[in-house]
Amino acid sequence: MTRISRPVVVLGALALILSGCGYDETPLPEDPAPSSAAPPPPLLCERDSVETDKRSYAPGSVDPADLEIGDGSGPRTLRVGVSADTYLMAAANPEKNNRIEGFDIEIVTRIAEEIFGDDFNPGRDIEYRVITAGQRIPLLEEGELDMVVRNMTINCDRWEHIAFSAEYYHATQKVLVRADLAEPVDADGDGVEDETQVPDLAELRVCAPTGSTSLDNVAEEEPEAVISPAPNHTGCLVKLQNGDVDVITGDDTVLAGLAAQDPYAIVPEVQPQLGGEYGEPYGVGVNAENIELAAFINQVLEDMRADGSWQAAYNKWLAPYLGGPDVNEEGAVQPEPLYGR
């Protein structure tokens, strides 16, 4: 019996080992290496002065019928590049069948009204194309668009590729904070702390679009601020709502749109000076050769000043969040145009 017991034991053990073979644990994917944010390109042009950059073409009394618009293939339309997610400036409204509306759209509509006259039909005459910030200049250069009204800052670099209208809105860089971080302050000295100010940004997590100049300006103003970029400003709001950042910085127009979407995100009245005195002068971009259209737009902007429609548009869209002229000294009134280009 001992002669057979050894192989039996060995085989039994083998059976147990083989049948009990376990599975290797399913591996988890490795975390991808974080991508580093590219710094914004510096201005390549030699900036003469802020005034030179803002200078556009004197308003012209061009017959709208002679303006070169549309691609010439079908009915004459005004092809406009806009944003569809910059709330209050130009954003799709799901309640109104995703129609784009906002301050920029009021400017576009008025220009189109002046071009098409009494027969103006927005659905037929305006061809909106929702574009990214990066598409603004290439699409104008390629003649794919007649004009771009999309938070576009006038600067000397861009003048080398396209033409601008006169400044139609003077934006400034501001800071939006989580409501509990806004510090009460007696700014007007009446003994009542009825306004708020931006807290010290040191140690606070600040968000702005990756590679934007806004982030550089914050880093310059407060080197101890923790920079946490997102792909765009709305992405920053998502981060704020999820508790990943404390502060968002950007143009006041954009911040107004973010504050309007979240009652716990506010833009304090008392703001640090960011981005220097130059600010962000917005202009309507047109093709570099379509000077007549730029001059025509400048005439429309003058008309809007004269009949108060610019102010009405500001009051409707931006004033509730950015305040009137007493709070938003430069932004709440239509900028004075500079001509002579």
């Binding site: 002669r3 049948s19 599975y23 591996p27 988890l28 910059t86 309640e95 069948n97 574009i131 709502q241």
Partner: protein, 384 residues
Amino acid sequence: MSIAIVFGLVCALLQFLAWQSDGRAADDAEQLIRIRSVESNLLHADALATNAFLVGGLEDPDQREQYDTAINDVFTDITDAAKAQPADREALAALIVEINDYTDAVAQARVNNRQGFPVGAEYLSGASAALRAEAMPILTNLADANTERTEDAMGGQHPIWLLLLGVLALVGLWWLNRQLAQHFRRRINVGFAVAAGIVLVVTLVAVAAAYRGDSQNDSLLSDELDTATRQAIARTAGNDAKALESLRLIKRGSGELYEEPWRTAAAVVVEKAVGSTDEEWTAYADFHEAIVKLDERDRWFSAVIQATARDEDDNETADTSTAAFEAFDNASERVVDTNGTKTSDELRSGRGLALAGSAITLLLGIVAAVAVARGIGARRKEYA
């Protein structure tokens, strides 16, 4: 005697392992199909969420219900998968975290969209991007690991080893018989002859059974399981494409960024889908081309209507993009279910017989050993 015992034991062991292996293969195949189903249902949920978002705040209740069902199916499958395969638990736990993040972000997207806030679109596109970047790699690992396990387990039949073992045992018995014959001058020992007969019959039966099992597994691997896996991959890619189409329109104007990934996903569908769903996919792809043309011509509203219109009558004719896509999705799901079930059913069929075979082999090995002992005993008596 040892030869017969060792033959019986090893032969029974090989059959037992094959029996066990087929059981594991059935479990692993089921797990693989389950993981593929999680993958498909997750992207199906994403296709539904992104498509519903396009309509605006007032979402179609049926579409919402379909989304909820898809997510419920995902969680049910994950629970079953964690029970079925302990080695997958850590990966499944990580997957649940990602899916929770996804469903949370989709809920926030809905709430904001209902209020007309553009941040809703950011939540949605962020959720969709994270789903692909964070959850899908986990699912890929799970699918790869279970594919490997299934293939390993399905290769658990050993006809060649059984044949070699039988031949070795017969040669051993023949050699011993020859040794006895030389000593006792009897050509054939009856005990040895009986043992050799048993070994021969057992070997032939076991080899035939193992060969049949091996062929059946090969055929399942290359037919039913392959079909189920391919179609599940095609269904996942199809849903990915449908979600990308909606994301394209949500990004209105800058949506062409999503066209290249749509084409990549569509190429996966064409490559992997079995022929029976080609017609449904082509019908949907034609609708997609029309949607792209409208979007490129700045007829965004018409493109959205095309992409979101639902088949009110719920009839068989897919006369909208969504209906055409649902026809493809439903047909794919049926193909996966049918072939997946057939694979595990066939792997489990006849396993009782295989286990009985293993026990009988062991018994016959003992009988053969007794026969050999008696054969030698008879010679000893003659000699005495």
